[in-house]
C-alpha cells in the first residue's frame, strides 16, 4: 500500500510496511490492555488487586503521573502564548500531542477505575463543589476539550484533509485564536493540576498526605501545579529526544530544547526548595500534632526514608541543577539524565502521594498495607502507552508536527 499522498510534503518517512509492522506490535499490546479493560468493566474491579485499604492504587498513580508529565502542554502553551516565548512554537505541536495522549489516557483510566463507569457522569451532574475530585473532573474534561481543539488543526493540516476548503479554513481560524484557547487551558490546568495535589492534601484523616494550606487549598495543591509545570517540559523533551533517536533525525533545534530545559530547570529548583520547606514543616509540625512521626511514615523497606531522599535529591536537586547550568543542559548526556531523573522524580512523588498514603497505618492496631497490582491493572496501565505510541506514529507520519523538520532534514 502506498500512503505517500498522505505524508506531508518535504519530509521522508519509512516504508509503509515497516510502519505497519510497528503499529501491529503496539496494537497487540493495546489489545491486551483492551482485553483487561473489558474484563474490568464486565466482571468488576475484583479483577484488580485493589482492596478496601487500597481504594486508590496503580491506576490513580498512573493518572496523576500522566497528568503531571502531560503538564508540558499547558506550560509550553502558557510560555508561548501568554509569556511570549515564540521559539516554543517549534515544539508546541508535539507538546500538545503528548498532552492530548496523556489526558485522554487519564480519562480512559478513570473510566476503568470507577466502580460504576456508566454513572461516571454523576460527577458532573451531581457535582459536589467542595470535592477536589470534582474540580479535577471538570477541569480535566474541559482542558481535554482544549487539547482536542489544539490537536484538531494538526489533523486538519494533513495534506489530503487540508485540501477540503472547510477544514482548511477551520484550521486557519483555530490557529488565529489559539492563544485564547491556550490561555483557557492554562487557567484550567493551574486548577486541575493543583486539585490533584489537593486530592491527597485535604485528607486530614491521612496524616501522611495531609498538608495545611491557605483558604481551601492545601500546600500540596500549589506544589502539584508547580511540579507539573516544572516536570511537564522534561517529559516533552524526553519524548522529543526519544522520537529523534527512533526516527534518526533531528526534529527540533537545540536552542528550543535548551530554552525549555532552562525554564524547566529553574522551575524544578524552586519547586524542590518549596517541597523541602513543605516537607520539613509537615514532619516537624503538622504530622506530630496529629500523633505521627516521620519514623512512623517510613517504616518498611519499600517505603523507607530512601524514597523521600530519592524524590528530593535524585528527582529534584539533581535534574534542577543540571538543567539550570548551561553546560549541563547543553551536554546531551546531562540533558538525558536530567529529563529522565525529572520524570522519574515527579512520578515517584505522585506514587508516594497516592500509594504511600494508603500504605501507612493510621489506626494504632493496623499493619502496613502493601499491594502488588494484578495483571489486569498492569495491562490497562500499559494500554495508554501503546495507544500513545500508535498515536505518535500516526501523527508523526501524516501530520506536520515538527515545523523545523524540513529545514533540519532537507531531502536531497
Amino acid at each position: 500500500m502506498d500512503d505517500s499522498a498522505l505524508i506531508p510534503k518535504g519530509v521522508k518517512r519509512c516504508p509503509f510496511r515497516q510502519f505497519a509492522l510497528w503499529i501491529g506490535i503496539a496494537g497487540i499490546v493495546l489489545l491486551w490492555g483492551v482485553y483487561a479493560m473489558f474484563l474490568c468493566w464486565f466482571k468488576g474491579l475484583n479483577q484488580t488487586n485493589m482492596n478496601d485499604a487500597y481504594g486508590f492504587a496503580l491506576w490513580i498513580w498512573a493518572d496523576l503521573a500522566v497528568i503531571a508529565v502531560g503538564g508540558g502542554a499547558f506550560f509550553s502553551g502558557f510560555l508561548r502564548y501568554l509569556v511570549g516565548k515564540d521559539e516554543l512554537k517549534n515544539i508546541i505541536n508535539y507538546a500538545v500531542l503528548i498532552g492530548f495522549i496523556c489526558y485522554s489516557s487519564a480519562l480512559l483510566i478513570l473510566a476503568i477505575d470507577v466502580g460504576q463507569p456508566l454513572r461516571a457522569w454523576f460527577i458532573f451532574w451531581h457535582a459536589n463543589v467542595h470535592s477536589m475530585l470534582t474540580e479535577v473532573a471538570f477541569c480535566l474534561s474541559c482542558y481535554f476539550a482544549v487539547l482536542t481543539i489544539e490537536y484538531i488543526p494538526l489533523i486538519l493540516e494533513n495534506r489530503q484533509i487540508n485540501k477540503v476548503p472547510f477544514f482548511h479554513n477551520l484550521a486557519h481560524n483555530m490557529h488565529e485564536i489559539m492563544a485564547i484557547f491556550a490561555a483557557t487551558g492554562a487557567f484550567l490546568s493551574f486548577f486541575h493540576q493543583g486539585s490533584l495535589g489537593g486530592v491527597a492534601g485535604v485528607l486530614f484523616g491521612r496524616p501522611f498526605s495531609y498538608r495545611e494550606g491557605v483558604l481551601i487549598w492545601p500546600w500540596a495543591f500549589f506544589l502539584f501545579t508547580w511540579s507539573a509545570a516544572a516536570y511537564g517540559p522534561c517529559f516533552t523533551i524526553l519524548i522529543t529526544k526519544i522520537t529523534e533517536v527512533i526516527t534518526g533525525k533531528k526534529l527540533v533545534k537545540d536552542n528550543v530544547i535548551e530554552l525549555l530545559a532552562k525554564i524547566s530547570g529553574w522551575m524544578i529548583i524552586t519547586y524542590t526548595a518549596a517541597k523541602l520547606i513543605d516537607t520539613i514543616y509537615w514532619a516537624a509540625v503538622t504530622a506530630p500534632s496529629m500523633g505521627f512521626t516521620i519514623d512512623h511514615f517510613f517504616g518498611t523497606s519499600i517505603y523507607g526514608i530512601w524514597i523521600l531522599g530519592a524524590e528530593l535529591i535524585l528527582g529534584g536537586i539533581a535534574p534542577g541543577l543540571i538543567l539550570i547550568s548551561e553546560k549541563g543542559r547543553k551536554s546531551p548526556f546531562g540533558l538525558w539524565v536530567a529529563v529522565i531523573f525529572g520524570v522519574i522524580g515527579v512520578s515517584l512523588n505522585r506514587w508516594v502521594m497516592v500509594l504511600q498514603t494508603m500504605a501507612v497505618p493510621v489506626l494504632p492496631f493496623e499493619e502496613w498495607y502493601l499491594y502488588i497490582p494484578s495483571w489486569q491493572e498492569v495491562a490497562t496501565t500499559v494500554l495508554p502507552v501503546a495507544y500513545g505510541v500508535i498515536l505518535i506514529m500516526i501523527s508523526y507520519r501524516y501530520m506536520p508536527i515538527f515545523p523545523q523538520e524540513q529545514e533540519l532534514n532537507p531531502i536531497d
Binding site: 485493589m50 478496601d52 460504576q116 459536589n128 475530585l133 485535604v202 486530614f204 484523616g205 494504632p364
Partner: protein, 261 residues
C-alpha cells in the same frame, strides 16, 4: 451539603459509647449489623481487606511479652465524624454528593444509587469504615428469603458503610409522628449492634441530649475517641480502665505519654 447553620441548634447528634471493658470480642455486633443491613458475604472472607463489615471488631495488643501481654477488642462502626467544616473527612471529598452529613441527626449517609465508585471517600477515611463492593452480591440458594426490605442490597461497584441503622431512625420518626410525639424516645431508636450486644457494651443515643445515657457516659474521664488528634471529631466514644488502650488509641508516642502523665 448545604450549609444549614440554622439547623445545628435543633438537630440531634446521634452517637455511641462503647465500653471496651465489657466488650468480649464475641462478634455479635458484626453479625447483627450484617443481618440488619443485608450485607453480602462470599466464599472466602479471610482477606479482611475485601470483606464488607460495617461494624468491625478490631483487636489491639499491648505489645508486651508473656505473661504481661494483653489484648483489647475495639468495635469500629462508622464514626459519623463531625470535623471542622461540620462534616466528616469523607463527605467533602465525594465528587458526586453521594455521601452527606445530616444536620438533623448527625449521621453520615451513603446514597448507593448515586455513588459511582471512585473510592475517594475510602481514601479519606482513617477508620477504614467504608467498604467497596468489589463483587456482585450473591446469596446462596434460599438465603434471599431473609433479606430485609428496609435496606436495599447494594450493587457491585459502589461504596457502603454503617448508617447508624438510619432506616430505624426513619421508622422511629414515623412512629413518633403517628403517635403525635415531638421527640423520638431514646429507646425507640437504637442501632442493631447496640440492641444485639450480649454484653451490653454499646450505648447509643443523642450525644447532646442530657436525658440520654450517652450524654453522661461520654463525659466519663475514662472516655476517649479513636484518632482524636486528626481532628475528625468522631461521634463514637470508647470507655476503658486500661490506660494503654487509651494512649494507643490516639497514637500517643512514648515520650508524649511520659510528658502527659
Amino acid at each position: 451539603m448545604k450549609n444549614e447553620q440554622g439547623h445545628h441548634k435543633t438537630g440531634k447528634k446521634y452517637g455511641m459509647v462503647i465500653d471496651l471493658d465489657k466488650c468480649t470480642g464475641c462478634g455479635a455486633c458484626m453479625v447483627a449489623c450484617m443481618a440488619e443491613n443485608n450485607v453480602p458475604f462470599k466464599e472466602d472472607e479471610t482477606n479482611k481487606l475485601d470483606n464488607i463489615m460495617w461494624m468491625r471488631v478490631y483487636r489491639m495488643s499491648n505489645g508486651k511479652p508473656f505473661p504481661d501481654a494483653d489484648i483489647c477488642y475495639i468495635p469500629r462502626p462508622c464514626m459519623h465524624c463531625e470535623a471542622k467544616h461540620g462534616h466528616s473527612p469523607c463527605v467533602s471529598v465525594c465528587p458526586a454528593t453521594a455521601t452527606d452529613y445530616s444536620h438533623e441527626t448527625g449521621i453520615v449517609s451513603q446514597i448507593y444509587t448515586r455513588c459511582f465508585g471512585c473510592r475517594y471517600c475510602m481514601a479519606a477515611c482513617p477508620y477504614h469504615a467504608r467498604y467497596f463492593n468489589w463483587w456482585d452480591p450473591v446469596w446462596p440458594e434460599g438465603m434471599k428469603n431473609y433479606l430485609s426490605p428496609d435496606v436495599s442490597p447494594r450493587m457491585r461497584g459502589v461504596v457502603e458503610k454503617c448508617s447508624f441503622c438510619f432506616h430505624r431512625y426513619q421508622l422511629a420518626k414515623d412512629k413518633a409522628l403517628t403517635a403525635g410525639h415531638r421527640e423520638i424516645e431514646e429507646s425507640a431508636y437504637q442501632t442493631a449492634c447496640t440492641q444485639a450486644c450480649p454484653a451490653g457494651a454499646i450505648t447509643f443515643g443523642d450525644l447532646d441530649n442530657p436525658k440520654h445515657a450517652v450524654y453522661k457516659l461520654k463525659h466519663d474521664p475514662r472516655a476517649f475517641r479513636l484518632l482524636e488528634r486528626l481532628g475528625t471529631n468522631p461521634k463514637v466514644y470508647y470507655v476503658t480502665d486500661r490506660e494503654w488502650v487509651r494512649w494507643m488509641a490516639d497514637n500517643y508516642q512514648d515520650q508524649e505519654q511520659k510528658a502527659k502523665g
